[in-house]
């Protein structure tokens, strides 16, 4: 049942996935073969399309629920023998799948045809493994987290505005804004309590005058952990609303 739920969400975004990945690939191709563009721009701009899932996530979150209600799929959806949070998770995974496929498309395209002159001096010291580690940690992880945050908030906004049809758009926007504020606020407030969490070790390498220097950065992730706890609370709330409060 859960697998069918995920498959349904995937089918809904299938054509969009193909289109966005094709555009990402064409963008990398254009940036690679137009020699008028300096490498300082070509390399970072190859990753521009990764912004798209995060920008689209709240829209996807709201429209996907709206479609269920407009097409009366909610009658079937809410009668399924699955927990509310599975419905929320399936929709979230559809959005995260977009980030994942775009990452693979962009990284593979950049490795195959991209202009890597900018990172070549570092690449000589690190090799492909470390470059991949940095791409995942610095590019993919923050964008994936950001996409998840705005998607969960978008779903919550859609669900709350469904319960309160009066000024539903205003209620939705307020829910989204309050949720975002709440996550940052709770993250900051919980940070002193979560200092015991181990710091995240990050390996950094820089090249100066042909000599490579390595450094370890240890980043305290307590505020992020607090924010993730708040996000988990909002995720649970969205699941609870689907299960208990939303009526077909």
């Amino acid at each position: 049942m859960v697998r069918q739920l995920f498959w349904k969400e995937f089918r809904e975004i299938r054509s969009y996935l193909v289109l966005s990945n094709l555009i990402a690939f064409l963008l990398v191709l254009y940036l690679s073969f137009d020699r008028r563009i300096p490498p300082e721009f070509a390399f970072p701009f190859s990753f521009t399309m990764l912004v798209l899932p995060m920008v689209r996530a709240p829209v996807h979150a709201v429209t996907t629920w709206k479609r269920e209600w407009d097409q009366h799929h909610d009658l079937l959806l809410l009668s399924l023998p699955v927990r509310g949070w599975w419905l929320v998770t399936a929709k979230l995974c559809a959005a995260l799948l977009e980030t994942a496929t775009l990452t693979v498309t962009i990284v593979v395209s950049v490795l195959l045809v991209g202009r890597t002159e900018l990172v070549q001096p570092i690449y000589d010291f690190t090799g492909p493994g470390l470059m991949l580690y940095w791409t995942l940690l610095v590019v993919v992880l923050p964008w994936t987290l950001g996409t998840a945050v705005v998607h969960i908030l978008g779903q919550l906004a859609a669900l709350v505005s469904r319960i309160v049809p009066l000024f539903s758009s205003l209620v939705g926007v307020c829910t989204f804004a309050i949720g975002l504020w709440g996550i940052i606020r709770v993250g900051g407030l919980l940070a002193p309590l979560l200092r015991w969490l181990p710091a995240l070790p990050l390996y950094s390498i820089s090249v100066s005058g042909g000599i490579g220097y390595e450094q370890w950065l240890r980043v305290q992730m307590a505020p992020l952990a607090g924010a993730l706890l708040a996000l988990a609370g909002l995720f649970w709330l969205a699941g609870w609303l689907v299960e208990r409060e939303i009526e077909p």
Binding site: D124, F125, T126, G127, V160, I163, V164, L166, V171, C174, T175, A177, I178, W181, G182, I184, R185, G187, G188, A191, A199, I205, I211, G212, Y213, E214, Q215, W216, L217, R218, V219, Q220, M221, A222, P223, L224, G226, A227, E245
Partner: protein, 52 residues
């Protein structure tokens, strides 16, 4: 309006008011608080050999 809708509007109004006061009175201090929590310890720089 049902009781449930009234409760949700009341909760949202209180939270929106709190957020507004927080933003107005503290002028985004909570965002700086959040950022300050990410303390970074940097180790000493060491020279690494070239792979190729």
């Amino acid at each position: 309006m049902t009781k449930r809708q009234a409760v949700i509007i009341a909760v949202l109004s209180i939270l929106a008011l709190t957020m507004g006061l927080d933003l107005y009175l503290l002028k985004g201090e909570f965002i700086r608080d959040f950022g300050r929590g990410f303390r970074v310890d940097v180790s000493e720089r060491r020279i690494v050999p070239r792979l190729r």
